[in-house]
């Protein structure tokens, strides 16, 4: 039981975070809240990759003088990939906010049902 908890709790937390994001994206009515839920999903994916890169007994992936060997450093690849993913998520959030400004000016509302009602008028 103890081993199960120590091995899987972090994955369960990540799945919970991901599902909170999914639920918000599908269920919430307000488009800004949907965007925030999408960002929560992105954070869950980023944490999942970073967890996969960890090693027991490893330090940060910067070479310390005199310390050699593969087992002393954690995996640098997930860090390099997620570093760019964070900046790209910033840029896509900017584009999404521009779209929301468009929708707000065109229909005068950010709630989904209100927007659909005005679209059909």
């Amino acid at each position: 039981m103890k081993e199960l908890l120590s091995q899987h709790v972090i994955y369960w937390l990540i799945i919970t975070l991901f599902m909170i994001g999914l639920f918000g994206m599908v269920y919430k009515n307000n488009l800004v809240k949907k965007l925030m839920a999408m960002n929560i999903m992105q954070v869950a994916v980023i944490i999942f990759f970073l967890v996969l890169g960890q090693k027991a007994g490893g330090t940060i992936p910067i070479e310390i003088h005199g310390l050699e060997g593969i087992e002393n450093y954690i995996n640098p690849l997930p860090h390099a990939l997620m570093l760019t993913a964070i900046v790209v998520s910033l840029a896509t959030t900017g584009v999404a906010l521009a779209f929301l400004l468009f929708i707000e000016r065109r229909y005068g509302a950010l709630e989904e049902d209100e927007m659909l009602r005005r679209m059909n008028q």
């Binding site: 910067i62 570093l83 840029a91 900017g94 906010l97 400004l101």
Partner: protein, 142 residues
């Protein structure tokens, strides 16, 4: 920019914060090969410094870079990156293989120089993109 955010404490405090944030950004860029850091983080720091300046001072900011200027800067940053790749091809190497520059240094040093060059390009691109997004989303209609 907005009178609601304008207060004497913020204006005075951020006036002294901004140079330190910018110096730290340049440090993170230049020391990125030896410590945590690199182009993306340095770009975020420099972009935040300019956004703070524009938030506090509005039109009177010293670094009042408009969205159009920042967009040109972002293009220049991406161009620097691609240009270094093309230069390595001019000297008969693979794309972005920095070992072929005809400079009087060892191959490892050429690689380090190439990494610094593309990180400068990335920094300019990220910094300018943050300013473009901020400026586009908050600009008042004339």
């Amino acid at each position: 920019m907005n009178k609601e955010y304008d207060s004497i404490i913020l204006s005075t405090a951020y006036r002294y914060f901004i140079p330190f944030i910018m110096i730290y950004g340049v440090y993170v860029l230049m020391n990125g090969e030896y410590s945590p850091g690199g182009g993306f983080q340095a770009g975020a720091l420099l972009g935040i410094a300019i956004v703070l300046d524009k938030l506090v001072w509005g039109e009177k900011a010293i670094l009042n870079i408009s969205g159009a200027t920042a967009l040109i800067l972002a293009g220049i940053g991406t161009f620097i990156y691609a240009l270094i790749g093309v230069l390595t091809m001019v000297f008969k190497g693979n794309y972005l293989a920095y070992g072929v520059f005809p400079l009087a240094m060892t191959e490892v040093e050429r690689h380090a120089l190439g990494i610094l060059g593309i990180e400068i390009g990335v920094t300019i691109c990220v910094m300018a993109t943050i300013i473009v997004i901020f400026d586009s989303l908050t600009r008042r209609e004339e």
